[in-house]
Symmetry: C2
Subunit: 406 residues, 2 copies
């Protein structure tokens, strides 16, 4: 069994990097804080005796050799980047649990049959650079390296530039590393496990996600003398479009999720009718067919309003992550582990995307969830119980050992 205190201490130490006044974390991808987090992880990983590799998209691989290092290894993957107003557990738990497993194997003088590897993926959150999970997507071949390098943040900086700036553009090619199995431990980020009083969730798959940019174009004009009927006001167009977008969640209730996380009127001045309005739409559903229907309905809403009130609209899908079902073999390994450890579990489908989604396309993969308080995540108040952190890590250890062989 793992050393819960050692793991918890590392979690708390890492949370100081980018730590916020409200107790959260701001360690956004490819910022100085991300660099500090990476540096600390590498320092710790070297202390456990791991070898470090960094690939061209900045993914960090910390490998603990096994008896036969010519064979595919077992991956423990997750991410160190956070939301701008994120918490202490989202992502970082899965990476530091990997370190704790290395230390536990060292404590017990265990040499596994095949190598065990921690992978810390670049820019999982997608908060700064869209889409999310981009580096695991390059790893799986879903995105090209150039596509990833060219992603820009709101200030126009590219992912490639920023990766270079913080010194994490490695030399190793991305992908083409074979794995026998891969596991990701993560907080649930939703309220189900807590409500059902389960310490561990056996994640059988991940719902599908579609991301859109919507731009409404009107005409900038003065808020005072311009008669209402003469205006081309994109915010007024919202009064018709926005309720219809949210209605989609009711039509496809209860599983459809609809979120408008970003909305900005331009130029954004009190006494000017905005010339344009940009917003981000996030649609999710576990069923691919229903998610396609949501997509068609959204497109219909937007096209049927195009030109109304003098406002034109452009809807652009910028990311599609189809629903994923994880490997039966990996799911069973997690189930067996939890059963052996007598931890109360339930099967669950992930509402959030994870690097495991892309990794699952090139290697047998599954995930382990633990509850988080009130289901809160992407929030500085995000919190998880130490007992669940320990349970989840023990399940991870046990599943890894089943596949790695002692």
């Amino acid at each position: 069994k793992v050393n819960g205190d050692r793991l918890w201490k590392r979690l708390m130490e890492m949370s100081k990097i980018g730590g916020t006044a409200k107790g959260g974390v701001c360690r956004v991808a490819l910022t100085d804080e991300d660099k500090q987090g990476r540096d600390l992880f590498i320092k710790w990983a070297k202390e456990t005796g791991c070898n470090i590799d960094i690939d061209k998209i900045g993914n960090i691989y910390a490998t603990r050799p096994g008896k036969d290092n010519s064979k595919p290894s077992i991956m423990i993957g997750s991410h160190l980047d956070s939301q701008p107003t994120g918490g202490k557990f989202d992502g970082v738990l899965g990476v530091l649990a990997g370190l704790e497993i290395m230390d536990t194997l060292n404590d017990l003088n265990i040499v596994t049959e095949i190598p065990v590897e921690i992978v810390s993926w670049t820019n999982e959150e997608g908060a700064r650079f869209s889409p999310a999970m981009i580096a695991s997507g390059v790893f799986s071949g879903d995105f090209s390296l150039d596509y990833a390098y060219e992603r820009t943040d709101k200030e126009g900086k590219t992912l490639g530039e920023e990766l270079e700036r913080i010194g994490y553009k490695g030399s190793m090619e991305v992908g083409n590393r074979p794995y026998k199995a891969t596991f990701e431990l993560h907080i649930e980020q939703g309220p189900i496990l807590e409500a059902k009083n389960k310490s561990v969730g056996i994640v059988t798959g991940v719902q599908g996600i579609r991301w859109y940019d919507l731009v409404l174009n009107g005409k900038e004009t003065h808020a005072g003398p311009s008669p209402m009927e003469y205006r081309k006001d994109p915010v007024k167009a919202l009064t018709e479009i926005l309720p219809q977008i949210y209605r989609l969640a009711e039509i496809y209730s209860p599983d459809a999720k609809v979120t408008v996380g970003y909305i900005d009127a331009i130029p954004g001045v009190r006494n000017t009718v905005p010339g344009s309005l940009t917003m981000a739409i996030d649609l999710r559903h576990p069923d691919e067919t229903v998610l396609s229907m949501l997509d068609k309905d959204l497109e219909h809403i937007i096209t049927s309003h195009d030109g109304k009130l003098g406002v034109t609209s452009t809807l652009k899908e910028i990311w599609y992550s189809p629903p994923v079902k994880f490997s039966k073999e990996c799911i069973d390994a997690v189930k067996n582990a939890a059963h052996d450890l007598k931890i109360p579990t339930m099967e669950i489908v992930s509402g959030a995307g994870h690097d495991a989604v892309y990794v699952s396309k090139v290697a047998p993969t599954s995930m382990i969830f633990i509850p988080c308080k009130e289901g809160l995540s992407h929030n500085e108040m995000e919190s998880a119980k130490k007992v669940d952190v320990i349970n989840g890590t023990n399940v991870l250890l046990n599943a890894v050992l089943q596949m790695a062989g002692i």
Copy 2:
């Protein structure tokens, strides 16, 4: 009569300061560009022989002495600051027309009975620091100097700091300068004069304005795993609130104006349900009673939604500029001037606020409008015809001379 070419040349030269690629102007209050614009104006004003004073809020007074300088003078006022995506005429026309009048009086060797003064007011637009017309409001005693200094922009910089930074915090007390009459020449910023084919508008008053900040507070959470019914989503609350806000314009049609110029979801990340949303609301009406009804209705909309969908709301009125009726004497001076010059005119109520609103509280005041293309203002495409610029300036000259005496 004024020299239209000289005036037009100055307008075009000034528009290079902060000139944008689209042919507009970005010379926002108390930026480096504002400083350059002020410097150029002072250079020109000194060349016409005017004396320069600068008061503690950065208003610039350029005075042409008359025969009796102990008597109250005639003021020609407007502003040099622009919207971030503003045009070549809004404000600057009224200031440079003043310079042209000084030059014309010099050309004709006219010494007026009493002094004539150009005043360039600080931060008329209110685009960076709310409220608008703040420095003429300090002049009239409606705002204290400290209140004005403490206004902050979106980056947290104060008006006082920025005034000092650009070197325009003068030593002269604000206000307490007596004026016999004051005039402001401005583009209409609406479509009426153009539609009615009138070169000059006799402005009889200004409609009332109420500015609000609305904050909707929900709870930040993940866009994926959080069930819809469990969310406290301020953007979803907008789907109910926003249509009702715009409905106010229909209820009090055709004179009510409703604008939401600024809207921002925080933290503004695609895969996070926003924790809060801030927006600016601008309500206008020429009738004080109706504007009060709009205010009550808006408050009712917001309070009746407070708590719905788990979203709390705070509505704060941050500015009220009551409807204003200008001085009969000054209106008549403008009317007579236009009549003598045989320029087609009509009476008009201003939809925009102007420095003349506050100045009218402490001195007899009126305004002169000229048409602008398609009624467009607060837009880089803002444009005005040279013939109307010249007509407006001739009417201004003539009205000023009626009051200043030759």
